[in-house]
Subunit: 497 residues, 2 copies
């Protein structure tokens, strides 16, 4: 067999695997948004069956043979990069036996359903048995991947979310930032105390109006509603399938900001997905890079841009108009102070830009201990609360405001959390580079014109797919690999001046 | 291999095939209800890929070997019936090559999307190329199945919608009824002209109120919203997956009846699906019988029950209350005359119970000619209009009110239409038997209590799955196989007294 025909055969197989992933994306989205509760067992059956099928296709011995016969690939660098990603995917998949993939998919789906009501009822004990099962299976997966990849069990999980990321490197960045935070936070709180206290506009803010404003600003950023939707789910996410990107939010009639900024955050994710290279759709190299770069796109839109004074110059009048607001509460200065207000709190998804990394560092430490067997799930609530106290000086009054708040662990995602803060760091870096490269970038944003920024991101990030690693992409776009100093400069600039 | 272990192996394989069918059900539902237009190509890719996969699994040579090794099966009659259905399914599937399944799925999806706008724009010419492709592929399928099953090409298609149905038998029933109709219709029109003319309540009827009333009456019939949903689509249908039944409707602010009766119709379908035997879920014998019995369940709820004076005794006050209606328009007698009003019209889904079979007989004749090659699609609009003139004495003013009105042919469904009228006949038969068997059945319905009727249907129809053929089921439940006389008696009783 020629290396060309071996590659062509692989491309057909991976295309099919990619399409099944898209079908799974829609079924997951439906499960989280519209599916009736009683349908959970049947949906778990569908998700498990398609996941197993995909896994079977990916782990057929022929794939290994074809990869061997394909060599390194010729032509421009896309084809060799596609082969590299095929190999990486194959290695991750073959490490885990099919029955474990099946059991894990079922356990995750069951636990995620249980979590919905356990969180509402603040009942961690009820969740515990199904969460134990999820963790038991994740640890089996971690052990299997650890053997196959020659990594520690935790790093083996991490690598599937962020290729090449290692906890040793994250430790350095996180410990550096954990050391920076307490002093910086104290300075920020002191500085903000010297300013007029921001006043939150008073609701109620009708959900229909919130939805309309969210959709309007999604269009401003560049979202195309012919290629996606905005809906409601317990935990906001960006999902769907290639070219059909579905983001979700949740609404609170007393506060429109949380949902609106959440929508803009997910829109950043969606713009990445919608900008991936169409020529490589369904191939591994055509997919998004790891979760850190993905998060950099959402945080760039939400944190770097949409909470800036520049963007609020454009958006504040739209908010006033939508909610029929007037007076000093609705003025730019107040809104800017409101959207950059720093205050330690219990809920990660409501956290401000400064305290957010503390939430991540807590979860990172806890999940490493859970995977390593150094912490039992029975002891998780206590460890969580102690960690919050130590990092942010506050103690959650109950588990709903503590260890029950996130869907990630019930859904089986361990090794995902650190990518949020890696993404925040990359976002600061990329936005600084875009401002250097593109004339009048911020002047355009202050007029609601995102086209120049999106064109830059399309060129330097979205259209690159998985052609190069995250650090190579950042180096090409900004001049350096992931760089904490840039993020800390951004924080100082925004929060101390 | 023992016949037992061969059967067990088959059961595992068919379970997986059934689950993939469920995933397809949700993806189809999403396509028709919520999917953004721009996502059509990607969705077509997903539907085609899963259809091909399912077809590959069903046509693996091992299935044939295992069927041979399984013999006839032992135990109660469910297991042998499951083997019989496995064989039938296998025979239908192996008749059609995988690339044809794939091409057909793509062509149907593309044509269905095209149809949406062609119908809106009344542009049959624009639809023609994609519809030609759909028909070309259906005729290839019919030829392949004809060879494999030893049936005529049209009967080979028909058999996949209604096992065992043959056009020779339908010809007799339809020609009998076509002969009955003109005289009967004239009598009915004369009789109704002697009554006070029914007056339609004046709208607008807010869509939100229509939705709420529809949901209320769905609950009355017995629909469980923990196991299904009600949404909006161009063409109403009952879809979804096992235990997650999703029905759709469309709303018209000027007329609430069309949507409401449509919702009750689809609820009848849904009750059948929700009542299928759980112990045989995902196995061929656990699925619904052919489309004729399926339609009997929707027509029993809509036509036999919900347009009766008995049910309207209960429902009329609810309608008055929902829409704040008062006066003679909203009284039972007027509403009953309105909901049993007979009037030849262009649109099948809006047709009354008397003229509906004429719409079906027209489509049945045309699709037989299209499949047989006796009619070209270029000539369809003319043939359609001539047929309407001959059968109902009216001529559609444009194709939107003529041959563009239904999704069936653009979606690739040829051989489906006759099952609607077979279902109407079966519905009359089953409801008469239920009234004979169940004391106070109608008294309970007049109080909004459907439980006794649903219990009878659950026992005699829903829980039977595909254990026996349609005629055997009707014989066990009513004493005779499909019987046109009962339907004609029902029509005489309702429309001439």
């Amino acid at each position: 067999m020629s290396s060309n025909s071996a590659y062509e055969d692989l491309a057909v197989r991976f295309h099919r695997i990619g399409v099944i992933g898209d079908a799974l994306g829609i079924l997951h989205w439906d499960q989280a948004t519209l599916m009736p509760d009683g349908s959970a067992p049947a949906r778990a059956e569908q998700l498990a069956t398609l996941s197993v099928l995909r896994h079977e296709m990916l782990t057929q011995p022929e794939i290994g043979d074809l990869l061997e016969a394909s060599g390194e690939g010729a032509g421009d660098d896309w084809l060799p990069a596609n082969l590299r990603e095929m190999r990486r995917t194959y290695l991750h998949a073959t490490a885990v036996p099919a029955d474990l993939v099946d059991a894990r998919s079922r356990a995750n789906a069951a636990c995620e359903m249980e979590w919905r009501s356990a969180r509402t009822d603040n009942d961690y004990k009820r969740l515990l048995p199904s969460l134990e099962e999820v963790l038991r299976l994740v640890r089996e997966v971690a052990a299997a991947k650890s053997d196959a990849l020659g990594l520690s069990p935790y790093d083996a999980l991490l690598d599937s979310y962020e290729p090449g990321a290692r906890s040793a490197a994250i430790d350095v960045i996180f410990e550096n930032h954990a050391a920076f935070l307490p002093g910086f936070l104290a300075e920020v709180l002191e500085f903000q105390a010297s300013l007029p206290a921001p006043v939150a506009p008073q609701g109620p803010f009708p959900i229909e109006t919130q939805r309309a404003l969210g959709r309007q600003l999604m269009r401003t950023v560049g979202f195309d509603f012919k290629r996606g939707r905005l809906d409601v789910s317990h935990h906001p996410f960006c999902g769907g399938s290639s070219g059909d990107i579905r983001i979700t939010t949740r609404y609170d009639e007393a506060d429109f900001t949380s949902s609106l900024m959440g929508v803009l955050h997910e829109t950043g994710h969606a713009m990445y997905e919608l900008g991936l290279p169409e020529a490589w759709r369904y191939q591994p190299v055509g997919g998004a890079l790891g979760m850190a770069i993905h998060e950099s796109q959402s945080l760039l839109v939400e944190m770097q841009v949409c909470r800036s004074r520049t963007f609020l110059t454009y958006a504040a009048p739209l908010m006033q108009k939508a909610f029929d607001g007037s007076g000093p509460t609705w003025e730019l200065d107040n809104l800017y102070r409101l959207y950059t207000k720093v205050e330690p709190g219990f809920i990660r998804v409501d956290a401000d830009e400064v305290t957010y990394p503390a939430h991540i560092i807590l979860r990172y430490r806890l999940e490493r201990a859970l995977i390593g067997g150094d912490l039992s799930l029975a002891d998780l609530p206590g460890a969580w609360n102690d960690g919050m106290k130590a990092l942010l000086g506050i103690m959650p009054p109950d588990d709903a405001l503590g260890c029950l708040q996130d869907v990630h662990w019930p859904g089986g995602d361990f090794g995902y959390f650190p990518t949020y803060t890696m993404g925040a760091i990359a976002a600061a870096q990329l936005y600084a580079a875009a401002r250097r490269d593109v004339p009048d970038l911020e002047a355009n944003i202050s007029k609601g014109d995102f086209a120049p920024l999106m064109a830059w991101l399309r060129t330097h990030v979205h259209s690159q797919g998985s052609r190069v690693t995250g650090d190579a992409l950042l180096t090409a776009a900004t001049g350096t690999p992931l760089d904490l100093a840039g993020f800390q400069s951004h924080l100082r600039e925004r929060y101390l001046s």
